[in-house]
């Protein structure tokens, strides 16, 4: 008797990893974003909303970071799930004054340096546009989303959304520079065991260089 139990246990142990691994391995969604000119678009935020049921809530005390480096916001585009705390460390050795008048989050972090500011809770869905009161060119975007499944395209135009529970989803795309006719929602089905790919073409206007700090020779003039 003891031996049967022992063999079962050993078999179990041997079989465990694949099962465990099979149970832990979730598919990814890879979105490829191009512009009307067929060029890869970076800073595009792709997010998935499940067609059935709701997405899981954000774990408590989730933090994200929006840096201020070299008088710029970094990253320019940040996506977080609703309920995330965003830290705004000031990596510059000069004062900044973060503000936003966006409906999703109207706030300001008056003149401060370093990491003295407290994190800000983003608890409403929407686009938050960040400015700096004393540096007119500084602009950053935070997309507050109601889903954990989101990703941002890099310079190669590719966004990776990892660990998506298989199922049917609506895929949305957001981009701060999107103009004109918005890219339509896409329905995708995330299948088990393999990655899903999708493609977005969006109408992006030229990123104007007014979002740069003025060069020593002169500055952007309005």
């Amino acid at each position: 008797m003891k031996t049967k139990f022992f063999i079962f246990i050993i078999l179990l142990i041997i079989a465990m990893p694949p099962v465990i691994s099979m149970a832990a391995e979730l598919p990814h969604v890879i979105a490829y974003v191009i512009s009307n000119d067929n060029l890869p678009v970076s800073d595009a935020v792709i997010y998935l909303m499940p067609e059935n049921g709701t997405a899981p809530a954000v774990p408590p005390n989730t933090h994200a970071t929006m840096d201020q480096i070299n008088k710029q916001y970094f990253p320019r585009v940040l996506s977080v799930q609703k309920g995330t705390f965003v830290d705004f460390p000031n990596m510059d050795n000069i004062l900044h004054h973060v503000y936003s008048f966006s409906d999703a989050k109207q706030f300001e972090l008056p003149l401060y340096k370093g990491t003295d500011s407290s994190p800000v809770l983003f608890d409403r869905v929407g686009q938050v546009v960040l400015g700096c009161n004393i540096h007119d060119w500084m602009i950053g975007y935070i997309y507050v989303l109601d889903t954990p499944w989101f990703g941002k395209s890099g310079d190669d135009g590719k966004a990776r959304i990892i660990d998506v529970k298989p199922g049917k989803y609506s895929a949305y795309i957001l981009h701060p520079d999107e103009k004109g006719k918005k890219a339509p929602v896409q329905s995708i089905t995330v299948a088990d065991g393999k990655n899903t790919e999708l493609k977005f073409t969006i109408n992006v206007k030229q990123k104007n260089n007014k979002e740069r700090a003025p060069s020593p020779s002169g500055g952007p003039t309005y």
Binding site: F101, Q106, G131, D136, M138
Partner: protein, 548 residues
């Protein structure tokens, strides 16, 4: 003439000056406009960065009153006359000019697009019947959340303001497609005529500032049009007559004064000239006339030290010369017969002679010596001169010339220096008339208780040498030759009692006569050196022998 040329020059210069000043003023206006736009632009941009304003806008959400109040505040702060806030959806959020408006489409959506494209925009826009210069800048928070539009009004006040520095009238013109342009504002009451306004429309297309000339209300105007936008322009205009006024008035006065002075000067000059030229000339003319009529003694009295005075002096010298000459001729005429004198004066006096056919008459008083013995010398001369005068007259009356008087003898020439066809006849008649004239003298003598005078006359006709006999200083025009001697001899022969003839003529003379005369053949005389004797005849003075 001077007035006209100066007048024309002034008009031309004034026109040029006005034209240049208009062009300059147009540039000044455009610059002023640009400066205002720049000012508004900077103000707008500053406002756009105002955190308080950004906050207000973000918080306003339909609170129009709060927004409007804030706009009023900021409008004052930036010194604009108008401030409008426009949404990114082209809707007016608030407008200080039209406080009641909100949520309506903006009047200039194209301008918003332009601002979106280029970062800002500006233009003169028409809202209602008023033109406004607007500047559009984005309200950045930090991205464009609205459009801030500060502006100023192009009204009469602005026009008058500009007029202070410009010398022209200013009008803002509104151009409407296919319609007559309208006046938005103006500094002058002058109504711009329709044809002018319509012609302005045509020029808006080329987009440049334009110069015109037009007659408005009868006055010539120079105009300059500035294009501010497609439908708004600024017209600067100046009246030429008005500009000329300050010059023309005094100019006219000056010219009138100069004209008067010059007329006066001319009149004075005329009078002066009359005095120093015309009058003396008249005097001289009168003098010449007098001389022409023979009054050689006349002199002119002109006391001037100029050319006229010199002329007068010369004139007087001339008359003196003429007078002298006349005296000489007169004298000469008394010494010789006037005809000879005239002949002598006419020709250059020469000693050369010429052979001429002449009839010579000699006369002599019988027994003059005995008469003269009984009388005082004065009386003798008186009688003699009386006789010579009377006989001289008779000779000259018959076209003869008294050659000389030798005491009581008379030598007369017929046919010399000028020959008349009937010289012999005239000599014969002379002789007869001389005898008759004697009676006149005898009457006088009888009255003086003196004996009657008797004369003897001899006449011969022959070729003789006529000319001036004598030296250069003293000569006598006479005839010489045998014919002369014979005439003298014939006269002497009248003393011969047997002949009882007071007039003896030679056959040659008789043969030369044309008329009939009562003659007696007396015989022949022998002339020295000649073989053939000459027949002589007595001429009877009494019997019907007159041949006038």
């Amino acid at each position: 003439m001077g007035f006209i040329s100066v007048y024309t020059a002034i008009i031309r210069d004034t026109r040029n000056r006005i034209y240049q000043e208009l062009v300059r003023d147009a540039s000044a206006f455009e610059k002023l406009q640009r400066d205002r736009v720049q000012q508004l632009s900077i103000a707008g941009t500053t406002l756009s960065g105002d955190f308080a304003f950004k906050s207000l806008f973000a918080s306003s959400h339909g609170d129009h009153s709060s927004l409007l109040a804030a706009l009023e505040n900021f409008k004052m702060r930036i010194g604009a006359e108008a401030l409008m806030l426009v949404s990114t959806d082209y809707e007016i959020k608030a407008d200080t000019l039209r406080p009641e408006l909100t949520g309506v489409p903006v009047d200039f959506p194209d301008l918003i697009d332009e601002a979106d494209e280029n970062g800002s925009a500006n233009s003169v826009v028409l809202i209602g019947n008023t033109a406004y210069q607007y500047v559009i800048v984005p309200l950045k928070a930090p991205n464009t959340v609205a459009w801030i539009c500060p502006g100023f009004i192009m009204d009469d006040a602005l026009a008058h303001d500009f007029r202070k520095t410009a010398r022209a009238e200013v009008a803002f013109i509104h151009f409407v497609k296919n319609e007559k342009p309208g006046i938005l504002a103006s500094t002058s009451e002058v109504t711009l005529p329709d044809n002018l306004l319509n012609s302005l429309t045509g020029t808006m297309k080329n987009g440049k500032s334009n110069s015109f000339e037009e007659i408005i209300n009868g006055e010539q105007y120079l105009l300059q049009l500035i294009h501010l936008s497609d439908d708004v322009g600024v017209l600067l205009y100046r009246s030429l007559p008005k500009e000329l006024e300050p010059f023309i008035g005094p100019l006219r006065l000056t010219m009138l004064a100069l004209l008067s002075i010059s007329i006066l000067a001319a009149s004075i000059g005329a009078v002066w000239i009359s005095g120093t030229v015309t009058s003396p000339v008249r005097t001289l003319v009168e003098g010449v006339r007098r001389i022409a009529s023979g009054d050689y003694g006349h002199t002119v009295k002109i006391d001037q030290s100029d050319e006229i005075g010199e002329l007068a002096k010369s004139f007087n010298d001339m008359t003196k010369g003429l007078e002298e000459r006349d005296k000489v001729r007169d004298l000469l005429g008394k010494v010789v017969s006037p005809e000879i004198a005239k002949e002598l004066m006419k020709r250059k006096i020469a000693l050369t002679g010429e052979e001429l056919r002449a009839t010579i008459l000699f006369s002599d008083i019988r027994g003059f010596t005995s008469i003269s013995e009984k009388l005082p010398p004065g009386a003798v001369l008186e009688i003699l001169n009386k006789y010579l005068t009377i006989m001289g007259v008779v000779v000259e009356k018959n076209g003869g010339v008294v050659d000389k008087y030798v005491g009581d003898s008379i030598m007369a020439l017929f046919g010399v220096p000028v020959s008349l066809e009937d010289d012999a006849d005239r000599a014969m008649n002379t002789a007869i008339q001389m005898i008759e004239a004697l009676e006149e003298i005898n009457i006088y003598l009888r009255s003086k208780n003196l004996k009657d005078m008797r004369i003897g006359i001899g006449i011969n006709t022959d070729i003789v040498v006529a000319g001036n006999v004598g030296s250069n200083n003293r000569f006598n025009y006479t005839v010489i030759g045998d014919g002369v001697n014979l005439a003298a001899r014939l006269e002497q022969l009248t003393k011969t009692p047997e002949f009882s003839a007071s007039i003896i003529v030679s056959e040659k003379t008789l043969k030369s006569t044309k008329n009939q005369y009562n003659t007696r053949h007396l015989g022949e005389v022998y002339i020295r050196g000649k073989e053939i004797p000459v027949s002589i005849y007595a001429l009877d003075p009494h019997k019907d022998n007159r041949n006038e």
